[in-house]
Amino acid sequence: MNTSPDHPDFTALALGEHINGIPAQAVLDALRTSVSARHEADQIRATANQLAFVLKGQPPVRLDDARRNAIFNADVAAVRARFSAEDCAALAEEPGPVVERAPRTWIYPTLAAAAVAVAAIIVMKFLPSPADVQKEAPPIATENDEPTGRIMVESPTPNSPVRERNQGPGIGPVIVEQGVKPPLPDKGPALSPANEPPVQVVKEAPPPRPLVPSPLVPNSPPPESDTPPPGISPPTKILPGSFATPPKTPGKPGR
């Protein structure tokens, strides 16, 4: 309880009001002991009494007889109907409750996050892990294995892996072996042209060899031999036993 004279609780107690139903003993003690508090309380009471005297001394305004008789002789049913209609009209005039909706800017980030989560779940569930890929890979071909119609392409560099190319659908998976050159059978089963799968030669393009000094590079020496310059690999060599198609001769462009 605030015992300062400039506080609403002090004014309330000076006017005889009980704060929260309990008279504040601290303020009452302050009123008894402190001269200034007692003076302040007297001032508050004097102003309040003066105001009450002025307000109650105003000329009274009363109901006229017609209104008073209308009150005493009122038809209760009519009065109830009238106030019921007024209440309905007031309810109809009142605007309905305004429902505050949160802005929907959160929808798009939420949908995006959900889509990302679903995509992550699908990837983790249906795509095999690298360990599974190694486990499910077929064994490396040995000498006794039948040729599968793959084309072995010699690596352009000695240390690069031998590359295999599948030559059509339904032929085994790609096997990449480091530095192993599988032996070719001496007499393989002859493949009839009808059974042959379409063959596509994988051949790397030869490096460009400048035959004349480049006009862009001044004082560039002409090439001395056919050996490629260091850093350029020789052209790919097609191994015997592979099927190659002759290069097309340039001619008229077909339709």
């Binding site: 004014t11 105001l51 307000l55 009274p60 209104r67 009065v79 106030f83």
Partner: protein
């Protein structure tokens, strides 16, 4: 009247309410509407609304006074709102601006202390003046005023404390001969004649 021994009828309740609270209710309604005829209409409707109470014994007691003042206040404010809507159609908003001329009420004040109190009371903000009127003219408690106005008891106490303090300051300024600080509230009814 003891509700336990005698059953209270609505007609009895209305007669007792009119006898006891007619004058304070009309005065209170007139302080809001600034119109005596409108205040009488409001008070008549307030008493008539007693007939719509299904349980008159519930109001037969100290709650009757609070109920009557609450209904009277709400109906007076409704009348004020309807009147503002009607006035706004055919009156310029400039009509309701406070004039810089002295208030006629101030000019008629004869200078005695009671008139000064009333003059300064009319210059208080509406919420303070209403709480002071309910407290000192109609003898309502802080709690009853809080129920009527929808404010908290502490807020009512603050408004009464501030209003009384302001009145004392104005009166002391007046006694000292100093120029009173200019305070002018916007009246509830916003009518030119009601300050």
């Amino acid at each position: 009247m003891n509700p336990e021994t005698t059953p209270v009828t609505t007609a009895d309740l209305v007669r007792r309410a009119v006898r006891e609270f007619e004058t304070p209710l009309v005065g209170y309604a007139a302080s809001i509407t600034c119109d005596h005829d409108a205040a009488r209409d409001v008070v008549q409707d307030t008493f008539l609304k007693l007939y719509t109470q299904d349980d008159p014994a519930r109001l037969d007691g100290p709650g009757l006074k609070s109920w009557l003042f609450t209904v009277c206040r709400n109906r007076a404010l409704d009348w004020l709102r309807r009147r503002k809507r009607l006035v706004s159609l055919d009156a310029s908003p400039m009509d309701f601006l406070a004039s810089s001329e002295p208030d006629p009420h101030d000019l008629t004040a004869d200078g005695d202390e009671n008139s000064e109190v009333l003059r300064f009371f009319h210059r208080l903000p509406d919420n303070q003046a209403e709480c002071l009127r309910l407290k000192f003219q109609n003898d309502l408690s802080y709690r009853e005023i809080a129920v009527m106005t929808g404010l908290s008891v502490s807020n009512v106490g603050f408004l009464i404390h501030t209003g009384l303090k302001r009145l004392r300051q104005l009166l002391s300024h007046q006694h000292a001969g100093a120029h009173e600080p200019a305070i002018r509230s916007t009246p509830l009814c916003a009518a030119p004649h009601c300050s």
